[in-house]
């Protein structure tokens, strides 16, 4: 997060306002939210494939599932473009645990 601590420097008390570049904050927040959505989306896709593999879905149910996931992917792409983010941006480095999302 691109936050500069308040430059008020009043010791022992929190500054009333944290001075930040509001655009950067917005972008970072969007990045964080989209990352979480992307994680859930990828988990849903995996889960859907597992369901299909189990083979007890009707053809129509499979079609519906596929369509829903396709629309979700499209929507995700639009959101990314809107905020000017790449797929690589939507990843959080969890240090020793590696990246949050699998990298291609």
């Amino acid at each position: 997060m691109a936050e500069r601590p308040g430059t008020g420097g009043r010791t022992g008390r929190l500054p009333h306002r944290i001075e930040t570049d509001s655009e950067a904050v917005q972008r970072d927040l969007a990045k964080l939210v989209l990352t979480i959505i992307e994680l859930i989306r990828q988990l849903m896709e995996r889960q859907a494939l597992r369901r299909v593999d189990e083979g007890n879905l009707h053809e129509d149910q499979e079609e519906e599932l596929g369509m829903a996931l396709m629309k979700l992917e499209e929507a995700m792409g639009e959101l990314r473009d809107h905020f000017g983010l790449t797929t690589e941006d939507l990843n959080i480095d969890l240090g020793p645990l590696g990246p949050l999302l699998p990298r291609d």
Binding site: A48, L49, V52, E59, E62, E63, M67, M70, E73, D104
Partner: protein, 258 residues
Amino acid sequence: MADSVTYVYAITRAPRDDIAAGLEGIAGSPVRLVRSGELAALVSTVDAEEFGEQGLRRNLEDIHWLETTVRGHNHVVNAAAAAAPVAPLGMATVYFNDDRVRAVLDERAEVFGEVLAEITGRTEWGVKAYTDPESAQPEREGGADTAPERPGAAYLRKLRERRESKESSRQEAVDQAEQVHATLSELARASRVHPPQNRELAGYRGQMVLNGAYLVDDSATDEFTSLVGELAGTHPALRVELTGPWPPYSFAVLRDGN
């Protein structure tokens, strides 16, 4: 506790006196030789506060300190390795004083001698292989023999194919890396496989599927390097990278529980 300790970079055999001449070690300290019989250790005097047990525990967490120290350590080892066969010690190996170093040289003369014999006339080379993210080709299966698919079903099929092709190209790369390693190991005197390096720190793309070290006879240097080139050509799933020559860090790092 004394205010200085002896830092050991490497062990060598019967070195010329001038091997350490003008060599600058950690924190600008001069490098000296501590001899015992046939063997000699390349050492510096360093601050006990900084390199003592407490100091090391603190400093090893400090990335800048670590970088400076590693560079200083490598500088000495590289310079010495250019002049004589040396067995490097792990970074930050320290003894209370020169007498302790001499005692260790005495006690472990046999082991040190064997290690030095093993690396004399040989050089370490590194070979890394990465998956090439560009080369993963999605397998196109024309669904000509089936009824036209509905878009949802087609999307699910694409998902599955993407997943399977990613998995199979990764597997392919791992298999090829194993072949590369096996071929190189036959030519090398000894080989080691290290864990893949951290992607961020090493700054590479794709996946590191081989991080191998090979101890090669100096007489086989050309043969080895051209073999690496050849293998890079015959294993299209991989990006192969040759590094070296190195001091024999992977084969001669001496550990001593002092």
